[in-house]
């Protein structure tokens, strides 16, 4: 795979705050990358610096092979952004807004493309409605459609589903998967870690303007995540079998909890040992590894990042 975006030691300093500190990142063509971090971590500033909304203080950004310090305009033809803040022009309808956005990107009129997006984002019924008359969720759908109307190769989704209903979230997830299927690269920031978990191939964690780590999602979950195994016995278990190390048996001997982490035994191995010892297992529950747990651990300083 080739890089569609290379961020090299990019910093952004305000008089009273350093929003980004020497951030370096490379995004590969066709992947879905999730940028995670708490409020004020620098996610939106980084996206802004790439998309032309923020002037970086130092560093280099190569977008689709072009150094933005040399040519900040041309590579934008193939980039789309769903901004965090909802915006709309009250003078125009939904269809007109999409046609305008298509034109701004230097593309000729394409009614079929506009209709396709209206349908994909469930906006067809509102096509001729003035944007000011749309509900909040519909306005966000329009934002997404505007970012995609010119068929960008690289799309930035900055908190695309903040404050929207479950239906839109699911619709968007389906559409993002479809985009990836078509070869589009997606960079996503989100507060909903479920969203990143559902969609992303790789993830990066940023806090206080510093990119703490970047890793494949599955590797990240495996290395830093943890899974909890809860076992309930039919009657109190007197003790744990010798093959089971770690975990905790409740005082009454009725429940057993085990936490699987990198370097410990697996949940499956522990459960096998319990069955092999003939313990009367009544119920088993698993709490899977959550990206949220990983994020919290990294932010608390337990990243183990190289």
């Amino acid at each position: 795979m080739s890089s569609v975006l290379e961020v090299e030691r990019v910093s952004k300093a305000y008089p009273s705050l350093t929003a980004l500190f020497e951030v370096s990142l490379s995004i590969e063509a066709g992947e879905i990358f999730a940028l995670l971090g708490p409020n004020g971590a620098g996610k939106t500033t980084l996206i802004g610096a790439i998309c032309g909304l923020v002037r970086k203080s130092s560093g280099r950004i190569r977008l689709l092979g072009v150094d933005l310090d040399v040519d900040p305009v041309t590579p934008r033809r193939d980039v789309g952004l769903v901004p965090q803040e909802v915006n709309f022009d009250p003078f125009f309808t939904v269809r007109e807004s999409l046609a305008l956005q298509l034109g701004y990107f230097g593309r000729p009129r394409d009614d079929a493309r506009v209709d396709e997006l209206l349908a994909a984002l469930s906006l067809s019924a509102k096509a001729d409605t003035p944007t000011r008359a749309l509900s909040g969720g519909m306005k966000r759908r329009l934002l997404i459609a505007k970012a995609l109307v010119h068929r960008p190769k690289l799309v930035f989704l900055d908190e695309p589903t903040a404050g929207v209903d479950v239906e839109l979230r699911r619709d968007l997830w389906a559409y993002v998967r479809r985009l990836r299927g078509e070869g589009t690269t997606v960079v996503l920031t989100t507060h909903y870690l479920e969203e990143a978990e559902e969609l992303a191939d790789r993830g990066g964690i940023i806090d206080k303007g510093r990119l703490l780590l970047v890793e494949e999602k599955s590797a990240l979950l495996k290395r830093l995540g943890e899974r909890r195994l809860h076992v309930t016995f039919q009657h109190p278990a007197p003790s744990l079998p010798p093959g089971v190390s770690g975990g905790a048996l409740s005082e009454d001997g009725r429940t057993f909890t085990f936490v699987e982490r990198a370097g410990t035994a697996s949940c499956a191995g522990v459960l096998g040992a319990l069955y092999a010892a003939g313990l009367p297992v009544a119920d088993v529950a698993m709490t899977p590894t959550r990206l949220e747990d990983v994020l919290l651990r990294v932010l608390k300083g337990g990243s183990g990042a190289p």
């Binding site: 998309c51 909304l53 305009v73 041309t74 901004p83 709309f88 034109g103 701004y104 230097g106």
Partner: protein, 252 residues
């Protein structure tokens, strides 16, 4: 150069003001025509001729200029400012539209509105005074240059402004006094000293006189007006292009 993008922005700007024609075209047309009726006929009847021309006819070029300058300025300043306030500036900043494309799109849209109001004002005045056009080329040049200069200045004001109050600052405190004291309703050449010399420092005087020369054939010093407009056009364009290029008050 993103030609389609520029054309799209221009088309959007024109459609935007045509969506509210009562506010953007009719209202200024009525107020400028009222100036003409009140000053030209009610008061002008006592005034007599100015430089050999009926007073009502004499003030027509100045009122056309007033319509063009005000509306070209207001269109670009308010449109750009509102684009910032409602957040749709993001749509333009992320698009492949450089400073030149943004400048052309906003300025050309504002010129269309300024010229539309100016020409409609001229048309309304003709109903009372008849048709006067001494030099087609000179008139067209002054109409276009006036519209351009004030459209660019309006765009610069829209970029600079961060509050609604600021957007009204230039029309109220600069343009209104400059135009009313700029020989729209009288000949500054006939003023006693030192008011004559002071008035001649007002660039609007020379712009109005230039348009008057084109429309009525009066020679009051029109070449200075032309060079003033050209100088202002170059200066304002350079400044506004720079503001757009660096994203002044648009990019953090």
């Amino acid at each position: 150069m993103n030609v389609i993008g520029t054309r799209t922005l221009l088309g959007k700007e024109v459609r935007r003001f045509l969506r509210v024609p009562g506010q953007t075209v009719l209202q200024p047309l009525i107020s400028t025509t009222l100036y003409f009726v009140v000053f030209g006929f009610t008061l002008g009847a006592r005034q007599g001729d100015v430089e050999g021309i009926a007073y009502a006819t004499y003030i027509v070029p100045g009122l056309v200029f007033l319509g063009i300058a005000n509306n070209a300025f207001l269109n670009s300043s308010s449109s750009f400012f509102i684009t910032k306030i409602q957040g749709t500036i993001v749509d333009l900043l992320v698009a492949p539209l450089g400073a030149t494309e943004l400048l052309i799109g906003f300025v050309a849209g504002a010129m269309v509105r300024g010229l539309l109001v100016g020409l409609l004002t001229w048309g309304a005045a003709m109903l009372f005074t008849g048709f006067h056009l001494a030099h087609l080329g000179g008139t067209a040049l002054f109409l276009a240059l006036s519209a351009y200069v004030f459209a660019v200045l309006g765009l610069a004001a829209g970029i600079w402004a961060e509050k609604f109050e600021q957007i009204n600052f230039f029309p109220t405190f600069l343009m209104l006094p400059l135009t009313f004291l700029g020989g729209v309703f009288y000949s500054v050449r006939a003023l006693p000293e030192p008011f004559r010399t002071i008035s001649l420092m007002n660039p609007v005087v020379h712009m109005v006189e230039g348009l008057r020369a084109g429309m009525l054939g009066l020679d009051e010093g029109s070449s200075l007006g032309l060079w003033l407009l050209v100088g202002l056009a170059i200066g304002a364009t350079a400044l506004t292009h720079r503001l757009l290029a660096v994203g002044y008050r648009m990019k953090s």
